[in-house]
Point group: C2
């Protein structure tokens, strides 16, 4: 139950140079993506580095929704630079790319698949020390600044997978709400859905003492260990903030209170799921974004079809929690109440439908596309979506209820239309 | 807002040898006190070290309520041993002694006062790396396994002071409820009062954005930074557990559920106050225990007069929170409600008395001595008690309301009798 170091506050980004100096860093790798590289968050970091006399090289070639190829490109850059610290400025794609770059540059002799999650990779434990990494999130969703997880598309198999190890967790996250003030509403909404699902999935994940196998050596235990008394605290608190602030944060870019709270909720949910894990919404989301046909999300400045991660996650949530509520219905009902449902007269056996209705109303209020059909999928795609979910066993096995292929099929079908 | 690494569960202590091996440790210093050195918690650790082929030396000379002299003795032992990791098994005294030993053995050229809190010491920031330290708490109170604080009696001035730096925070806390099953009820109660006050004081501490000064370099900021959105979560959760489980844990040594929860609450409150700080109950407690005359607490196996730390802290709590509730009364009322008060009809201006009454009832139910008079103090001692509180500015300035010497005097006087 390792937790994370974050510093929160408007303007904390400008302290990054001092932090690096305090860590003794002299030659720093600054990673970001091309959209951000000329925007204020990166500028503030560069100014702080210059002011504190820290030499750095800028890598702005991060791919939004990274792949093994894009990871390798960043890793090669990191290896050549022989850096003694890293700063990642951006969303989950940038932070995850930077974690991978740090990991492989610190282990130059390792093969790429060595640390990739089994069964796709070898899932080896990390036993060499990494360099310090400071993460500066500019979206309020991924929580990657607090987790030991780096997600990418493995192109060869056309599946999302990742690297998961406490060793790649950032040394420090600078959670600075100033970076969130100019995010378009649609980006805030989709990022917020990621927070919502991190919180819901981690809180309803299989309890830690029911997970198997249980490796006897602590170093071999997975980062995702099932719901537990520490992750619960973070997940519930993140959910409370989402319930209170997400709609306000979406509607008004200048609502500093709402956007600040969502930025903090993203980190809180990150600490929660980074310990407990996520399950079906995330496991099923990977083929939903991976098999995208022509859907292009509004407000996302990319040149390829894209289902934003948060959207791909949340569209199945009513179906998923209806399914999982058969186990631990009390927790499902509790989350429905936090999200605003009046549960005083609800029956415990209705926990699933109550939570699903609450989620549908929440998504409807935020103008979310009406299910998988609205983003281009039809019944004919279900076999491929199911096939794409099966390799996500690392997360799907954390669902409180086991699923057959038929179950997955039914969950995708039930998610075609929401309203 | 740095937080801590803990592993929680019945039996986790026996993994300590693997953890040390994973850290690459070969020559370990095991610290404990003479009472514990032949008891199961230490035995389990030694067995695990032997089983994993780790060489170690045992230091069992820790003093309960340590002093600068006893710290120095442990530091000398640590310097001679040239250890590459530390394990502390015991209560706060042992963990704090071990933190100091690790700090000064890692900085052999430093003077003792270099890192001691100002104004008594120089309060220098720690800039050299320390060795890994694994803390195994055997009481459920101090939370020292999660904090960067080490408290001792500075004999020359007859005051409690300490060392506070994120750098001395244990690398890992093994929170193993099996160690708490044989604790006498009185020890459970007093330890629990420490948890109670950690939670109440950190939750009502001056908010972090109102604290001054605000050093521009993050490394110079105090570990105790005022209440903040992260510490709040831990403090409130710890308080909820105290409300639900402390009485059960006191009354029945075999109540594993209650004692497990209190062990976790101790760590949670530690993370809370380790970030936010404590204030008046703790600041005033140091002279209460330091000036002890003849009081010897039942169930404590020591050869000198002793007011247990938790008792010295909690006896002033009704007076303190009546005083501080003038500021942030909502938070005071909220804590009263968590502790069981019916606050539906309470007026916000009565928050202080409501919380004080709730605390008095809680203490009465647990047979706590009737105030400072019952442990040997009289009105004539108040000037000395006030004088002993003044040097505790590091914590007392975190109270939400500033205090004059007259205020402190009145608080001690109001704490002479509780019921």
């Amino acid at each position: 139950m390792a937790v994370s170091n974050i510093r929160y506050g408007a303007g904390v980004t400008k302290e990054v140079g001092m932090d690096l100096q305090n860590m003794g860093a002299k030659n720093v790798c600054l990673m970001t993506d091309k959209n951000l590289s000329h925007l204020p968050p990166v500028q503030v970091v560069m100014d702080s580095l210059v002011k504190n006399g820290i030499t750095f090289e800028l890598y702005d070639n991060v791919r939004v929704e990274p792949t093994d190829t894009s990871f390798m490109d960043a890793i090669e850059f990191a290896k050549r630079g022989a850096f003694d610290a890293y700063v990642a400025v951006g969303g989950g794609s940038t932070m995850d790319t930077c974690k991978a770059a740090n990991l492989y540059a610190s282990n130059p002799q390792s093969e790429f698949l060595d640390y990739v999650n089994a069964p796709i990779g070898k899932g080896k434990p990390v036993s060499v020390p990494l360099k310090p990494l400071i993460a500066v999130p500019t979206t309020s969703g991924t929580g990657s600044e607090t987790t030991g997880v780096a997600i990418f598309d493995y192109e060869h198999l056309k599946v999302k997978t990742g690297i998961a190890s406490r060793a790649i967790k950032p040394t420090l996250g600078l959670v600075d709400p100033l970076h969130t003030l100019h995010m378009p509403g649609q980006v805030v909404a989709n990022s917020g859905f990621d927070v919502l699902c991190h919180a819901l999935e981690s809180y309803t994940a299989l309890p830690y003492h029911m997970r198997s196998p249980c490796p006897s050596n602590p170093i071999s235990r997975p980062a995702y260990q099932g719901s537990n008394p520490i992750s619960d605290i973070w997940s519930v608190q993140a959910l409370r903030i989402v319930a209170k602030y997400l709609k306000r944060a979406v509607r008004n870019p200048d609502d500093l209170e709402a956007r600040s709270n969502m930025h903090l909720a993203s980190a809180f949910a990150g600490i929660g799921f980074g310990n407990a894990g996520v399950h079906l919404c995330h496991g099923m989301s990977y083929p939903i974004s991976g098999l995208v046909k022509t859907y292009k999300a509004k407000d996302y400045n990319v040149d390829h079809p894209l289902v934003p991660h948060g959207l791909s996650v949340v569209l199945t949530s009513p179906a998923v929690f209806t399914f999982t509520a058969k186990m631990f219905p009390e927790r499902h009902l509790e989350t429905a109440e936090i999200l605003g449902a009046d549960t005083r007269t609800a029956k415990i056996q209705d926990a699933g439908p109550v939570l699903a209705d609450t989620l549908r109303k929440f998504l409807f209020d935020l103008n979310v596309d009406n299910g998988l059909a609205a983003i281009g999928y039809s019944k004919a795609d279900i076999p491929a979506l199911v096939k794409g979910t099966l390799p996500q066993e690392r997360v799907t096995k954390l669902a409180p209820r086991p699923q057959s292929e038929e179950d997955l099929s039914a969950l995708f079908e039930a998610s075609m239309k929401l309203y």
